[in-house]
Symmetry: C2
Subunit: 459 residues, 2 copies
C-alpha cells in the first residue's frame, strides 16, 4: 500500500483471536502500525477458565494454510497439528469404516484453538509494528470519527479506566457478538440477521488407550459416530487424546439430566466410545451446551473507516470445518485488496472487497448448515459413501476436469460460490453422460434385437 | 392481575412514543406503577426539530382504535383525526378516480404522530400511577437483574448523570433500534434480522388551495399518484393541507440533485400536484431521505423479565398503514394477557403472549412489503381495481361469508395470520365457483347443441 513517508497508516483491530492476530501480521507486513485489543487477559499467561477455550478443535485446510503461509507462520502451526486423512465412521456394533477426504496427499490439520492463538500471539509480539493490548473491552465505536472506546478491565493506579483510540481504520475481528458490527448495524441500510440451528454441542474429553475390548482408535482420522438425529465426533489432539463433541438438539440434550440416563444413552449409542470417556458424567453435567449461531450481514465495511472479518462478518456453524478457514481467507483477501492502493482510496478498496466476498461467505454459511446432514446421516448411508468414493475416483481419472465439491471447498482456494456453481455444472454433465450412455445402450440393444430377428430363418 | 396488597408491580417502559404511552395507560389501569422513560425532551413543550417528527401521517384503523378504546382515549383522538373513505388515484393527465376502502361506514383516520403523542402523554400525566421521565437515554439493560441504566441528558446540579432502575418488568417500546432488544439479542437463541426495501421516502408539504387549473383535492381520501417504480401519496391533515410523501428507490432519488431536475421530474410525473407544493425544491433538498426498515425477532420476551412491543419487536414498512395499529394491538393483547394472572407467572404469561403474537406480526410484515406494489402499480391497473370493487360487492352481498383481505386487516381485529389464511380459502372457493359455473355453462351448451342437432329434420 502506498502512503506518504511521514505517515504510517494506523489500524485498530478489535479482537485478538485467530483472525485478528493473522490480520495484524498481514497488515504489519504492508507497513501499517497495528494496535490489537482484546477484552480478555493473555491466554499464554494463564491456564484460563474452561469457558475461554472454544471446544471444537479447528480443522485447518487449504484456505487457512494459504493465508498462514502468506504471513509466514504456516510451518510453526503445522508442527503442532495432527493430520486427518479422512473420516473414520463408527456404526453401532459394526466395524470401523475409513473414508478418505480426497487424494492421498490431501488432509485436514487438527489443531486446538488455544495452540493456534498462542503461536499467532507470539508472532505478533515479535513484530515491531504490532502492539497487543489485553484487558481492553470495546464499549463504543464512533464510525464517523474512526474512534473506539475501550474500558480497561485491569486499571493501573492513576490510569483512566476509559481509553479512546482514533486511527485510520477500525477492524472488527471481535466474533459473533461483535461490538464493531453492532455500531455498523445502527447505520443506514445495514442488513443483518442472526439465527440458530436446533443443535447445541457438548464437549467431552476422550482418552485413546487400548481397552480389553479394542485397540486404540487411529489418530489420523476425524472420528464420527453418525446417529441421524445426533452425532458424536472426535478430533485428534495427539496419539493419546481426542477432543470429543456431541451435537444434539438442545431440547433432547436437556432430557439427559441424571448420571444414569447419560451413561445409558452413551452405552446404547456409542458402545465403543463410552470406555474412553473417563469423566463422561461430570463433563456432561458441568460443561455448558453452547448454541450454534449463523450471522449474516451486509455490507462488511463502513465506507473507508471500518471493516469486519471472520465471525464478526459471517459466523457459521462448524460442520464443514470452514469457520476459521473462511476467516483466514478474509484476512488474506483483505490484505491483498489493501496492498498497492493509496490509503485515501480505502472506501473503494473496502467496498470492492466486501462486495466480492459477500456471495462466497453466504455460500459457505449455507453449505455448513447442509453439511450437518452429511455428517450425521449420509456418512452412514452406503449409497452416499459410494457416491463420494466414485467422485474421488473420477477426480483421480480427470484431475483437471472433475473436482468434488468437498475437495474444492477444503483443498483449493476456489471462491466458495464458484465451487458450488462448478459442482452443479459437473453434476449436470454427469447426468448427461449417464443418460447418453443409457440411450446408447438401449439403441445398441434395439439394433441387436432387430438384427437377431431379421437373421432368424423364416419358419 | 393479582398481586399482594402490599406490593404494587412496578413496570419500566423504555420509549414514550405511541406504543409506550398506550401500554402505560393500559397497565396503570391494571394497578401497575409505571415509569415511562424517553431519551428526547417533552415534545409538548418545544416545537421540536423537524427530524423528531415522523413524516408519514398515521392511518388509524380498527385494531388501533380497539386498543385506544380500551384505554379510554379513542374519542379524543378521533376528534383530531380526518376520516379517509378510500383512495383517490391521480393518473398522469387523466381524471381522478375514487376507490372506496370498504362499506360506507368503513374508513381510516388520518392523524399526525405528533398529535397522537400529545394526547397520549396528556392522558398519562393525569394517571397517578404513571410517571414520565424525559431526557433519559437508555444506555444499558441487565435482563437477569431487571435493571435499566439511563443517562440523564439534562442533569440538574448535584444529580448523578447515570440512573439505575430496577423493576418487576422491563418493556422495550423504544422503536426500530431498540436498546432493550439489543440486550435480548445477546441472549442465547434470540433470532433477529433487519432488512431494508430499496425505496426511501421524502416528506413534502402540500397546501390544498384552488389553483387556476383545478379545484381543491377532496380531503376525505388518501391520495395516490401511482407511477410504478415510484409513487407520491398525500394524507390529509385537515381541509387545507396534506402531508405528502414521495417513495422512490434511494439510488433514483439521489439522481434528482438540482432544482431544475426536481421541478422537471414533478412537472412530468405529478402535473396536478406540483402547484400545490410551494416549497418543493427546498423541501426536497433539505429533508432527509430515510430508509424503510423491517425488523423481525424471536422471542419477544426474556423469561418474565422483559418484553418488546411495537417497532422494537417488529418494525414494518408503512405501505399497509398497519405499523401503529399493530403496535397498539400488541399493547392491548399484552395487557389482556397480564390481566388476571399472578405476577409470579409472568414468564409463562409473556412466553404465551410472544408465541401467539409472532406469526401474526410476521404476516403483516410480509403484507406491508407486498402492498407497495398494490399502491404504486396495481392501484392504477383497471383489472386490479375491478377485482377490488367486485370484492366489495361480494362483501355487501355475503357480509358474513366473504370478507376482502384489506377489510380483515384494516376493519377487523381478526389476527393477521388468520386473515391471510381465510383470504386464501375464499380465493379457492371463488375459483371453484367460477370453474363450476364454467362447466355448467359448457354442459348446458353441449346439451342444447345436441338437442338442436337431433331435432333438425333429416334431409
Amino acid at each position: 500500500m502506498r502512503h506518504s513517508a511521514e505517515k504510517v497508516p494506523h489500524v485498530t483491530i478489535v479482537g485478538a483471536g485467530p483472525a485478528g492476530c493473522l490480520l495484524a501480521l498481514l497488515l504489519s507486513a504492508l507497513g501499517c502500525q497495528v494496535d490489537l485489543y482484546d477484552s480478555r487477559s493473555d491466554l499464554r499467561k494463564s491456564q484460563g477458565s474452561k469457558d475461554r477455550q472454544r471446544s471444537i478443535n479447528l480443522a485447518l485446510s487449504t484456505r487457512g494454510l494459504t493465508a498462514l503461509k502468506r504471513a509466514g507462520v504456516a510451518e510453526k502451526i503445522v508442527q503442532h497439528a495432527v493430520p486427518m486423512h479422512g473420516r473414520c465412521i463408527h456404526p453401532v456394533g459394526g466395524r470401523l469404516q475409513f473414508h478418505p477426504y480426497g487424494q492421498k496427499h490431501q488432509h485436514l490439520l487438527s489443531v486446538s484453538r488455544r495452540t493456534l492463538c498462542k503461536i499467532l500471539l507470539d508472532e505478533c509480539e515479535k513484530r515491531q509494528l504490532i502492539q497487543i493490548h489485553f484487558g481492553h473491552m470495546c464499549t463504543n465505536v464512533d464510525l464517523e470519527d474512526r474512534r473506539v472506546c475501550f474500558l480497561r478491565t485491569e486499571v493501573i493506579d492513576g490510569e483512566e479506566a476509559d481509553l479512546y483510540v482514533t486511527s485510520d481504520l477500525i477492524v472488527g475481528a471481535d466474533g459473533s457478538f461483535s461490538r464493531v458490527r453492532a455500531a455498523m448495524a445502527r447505520m443506514d441500510r445495514f442488513e443483518y440477521s442472526q439465527s440458530y440451528v436446533p443443535a447445541a454441542y457438548k464437549e467431552l474429553t476422550m482418552v485413546n488407550a487400548a481397552t480389553s475390548e479394542q485397540s486404540v482408535f487411529p489418530p489420523e482420522f476425524l472420528h464420527i459416530w453418525p446417529r441421524h438425529r445426533f452425532m458424536l465426533i472426535a478430533l485428534p489432539n495427539d496419539e493419546k487424546s481426542f477432543t470429543c463433541t456431541l451435537f444434539m438438539d438442545k431440547s433432547e440434550m436437556d432430557k439427559l439430566s441424571t448420571p444414569a440416563a447419560i451413561k445409558q444413552f452413551f452405552k446404547t449409542n456409542f458402545p465403543d466410545a463410552v470406555d474412553l470417556l473417563p469423566s463422561l458424567v461430570t463433563d456432561f453435567i458441568n460443561n455448558p451446551a453452547p448454541s450454534l449461531i449463523t450471522v449474516r450481514c451486509n455490507p462488511f465495511n463502513y465506507i473507508g473507516n471500518a471493516v469486519l472479518v471472520g465471525d464478526a462478518a459471517h459466523a457459521i456453524v462448524p460442520f464443514y470445518g470452514q469457520g476459521c478457514n473462511a476467516a483466514f481467507e478474509d484476512c488474506r483477501l483483505l490484505a491483498e485488496a489493501i496492498e498497492g492502493h493509496d490509503w485515501h482510496d480505502m472506501s473503494a478498496v473496502l467496498s470492492d472487497y466486501a462486495r466480492a466476498r459477500k456471495p462466497n461467505v453466504d455460500t459457505i454459511a449455507d453449505l455448513a448448515i447442509e453439511h450437518y446432514e452429511d455428517m450425521s446421516t449420509k456418512s452412514a448411508r452406503p449409497l452416499a459413501v459410494l457416491r463420494r468414493r466414485l467422485e474421488i475416483v473420477a477426480n483421480r481419472l480427470f484431475p483437471r476436469t472433475f473436482l468434488p465439491l468437498y475437495s474444492m471447498v477444503s483443498f483449493s482456494n476456489i471462491p466458495y460460490r464458484q465451487a458450488v456453481l462448478r459442482a452443479k455444472w459437473q453434476d449436470r454433465k454427469i447426468e448427461q453422460c449417464v443418460m447418453f450412455t443409457g440411450l446408447l445402450f438401449l439403441t445398441a440393444s434395439g439394433v441387436a434385437i432387430c438384427r437377431a430377428a431379421l437373421s432368424r430363418p423364416s419358419q
